[in-house]
């Protein structure tokens, strides 16, 4: 049969493959997925001069367009609208940089961003889907490791996962993230190698 469509561009291919990993990880918390290699590498640096986690940025960008807003943070500080990386993200996606309390998508470039969870929108009972989706970049996710024990929809009984380079207070902040079902934020943890862990608001998290 004749194919009447163009094949996907490298960026479109990444977006669709990354989405399937994100969907699978969110539907099965505790399962560690592997994101495909990012389609670009020319990101402006963070304030301390280090490059951002490219695969985390690329996966996050795959969901952004002109209808949504975003905010991103290094350490415990939200980055300003005129910061070079903010402008690069806005130019690439047409998404609006916004105040964290009203933002649809947040990117936290390192685990100390967990202190900012309280700033984010958790949705309303009429529209719980309007809550923030948060991507958190961290050093390493260890499948079946022993940092967090997870329970809830998507998990047959319980699941455990290890997180390296995350302080005990940050683990506690992940476990205590705003999640009073049906309200709450939905979290994706992404490490430097492109491993991905989804933690929807339905997951009960316990620090081991």
């Amino acid at each position: 049969m004749t194919i009447v469509a163009t094949p996907p561009t490298p960026l479109e291919r990444f977006n669709s493959l990354a989405f399937r990993v994100l969907l699978d990880c969110l539907a099965r918390p505790g399962k560690v997925g592997r994101l495909p290699p990012p389609p670009f590498a020319d990101l402006p640096p963070l304030p301390d001069g280090t490059p951002p986690n490219t695969v985390a940025v690329a996966a996050w960008l795959s969901l952004l367009d002109q209808t949504v807003s975003f905010a991103h943070a290094v350490g415990a500080e939200w980055l300003p609208v005129d910061y070079p990386l903010t402008r690069w993200l806005a130019l690439r996606t047409n998404a609006r940089p916004a105040d964290p309390s009203a933002t649809d998508f947040a990117l936290l470039h390192d685990p100390s961003g967990t202190t900012l969870f309280g700033d984010l929108n958790i949705g309303s009972l009429l529209e719980p889907e309007r809550s923030c989706t948060v991507f958190l970049s961290l050093p390493e996710i260890v499948p079946n490791g022993a940092a967090l024990r997870l329970r809830g929809p998507g998990i047959a009984t319980t699941a455990t996962v290890g997180l390296r380079g995350v302080a005990p207070t940050e683990l506690a902040a992940i476990a205590a993230r705003p999640s009073q079902f049906p309200l709450g934020i939905d979290l994706f943890l992404i490490d430097q190698q492109g491993r991905c862990l989804g933690l929807p608001r339905t997951t009960q998290i316990e620090v081991i």
């Binding site: 004749t2 009447v4 469509a5 163009t6 969907l23 099965r28 969901l63 929809p153 339905t202």
Partner: protein
Amino acid sequence: MSEASDQLYNFALLDEDAKREIRRKLLKAVALPGHLVPFASRDLPIARGWGTGGLQITLSIVTPADTLKVIDQGDDESVNAVNLRRLINRTTGVTTTTDTAAATIIQTRHRIPEEPMRADQILVLQVPMADPLRWVEPNLERATMMHSEADYGKMWVYMYESVVRAGDLRIASQYPVIVNRRYLMDTTPIPRWDVPKLHMADTLYLFGAGREKRIYAVPPYTIVEPLQFEDYPFRTEYRPGQRCARCGAEHTFLTEHFVSDSNGGRWETTCSDAAYCAKRVAQMEATA
């Protein structure tokens, strides 16, 4: 005509912005099992009400590596299934199959396949009527309010009245369920036979209502409880002694159809899942 001029459409027909919007909504739907998430529902070359919700989900999640199966009432060969499959195939080039076990994405209208589905598969259901509260509350704003407050008293009264009037829970299909002990959800017109397959399943279920512009989901290993009473429990369509006339299966969902013969004709019951039935017949012929 050159090959390039034949390529008139974006991969998977929808533009990238439309796909992105549906992807964002799918993630929220998975995080809120059973909750109706509004989405834009783009125009498609098929009319709304003919599977556009399921089709938009399939087009948004499909990748070139996928294997696709499309069924309509359990049948791969009905007009709706054939046309949807051809549209998806011509705009993506993905492999299509009729074998449930070989598919990675299955788009379906009103059935869940008989063969148990695996964790690496996704079932996309077409939804004609998204809100189960429609039966008791036609006003959408009020129904949304009732969902937000988990105020399902009217629905329980409807169930009670069904028992009082008919002597049993008189709901043939589209059976209402409570998902993750919170949201009331319409199961789409799948038969009651398929409802238990939603409970603690291995597979991710995605639901798309194109005409009503709603997406919802049931993640794997999620509690899905049909509405029932202690003395009037939920029951599937199983009849002791039932049997498929073609493959002899005794534990499948059967449909009845009229077969004319020289004696004037007779009613015959066969499996509704045609591919499963054909597979069983082929296996029996191979071993015989």
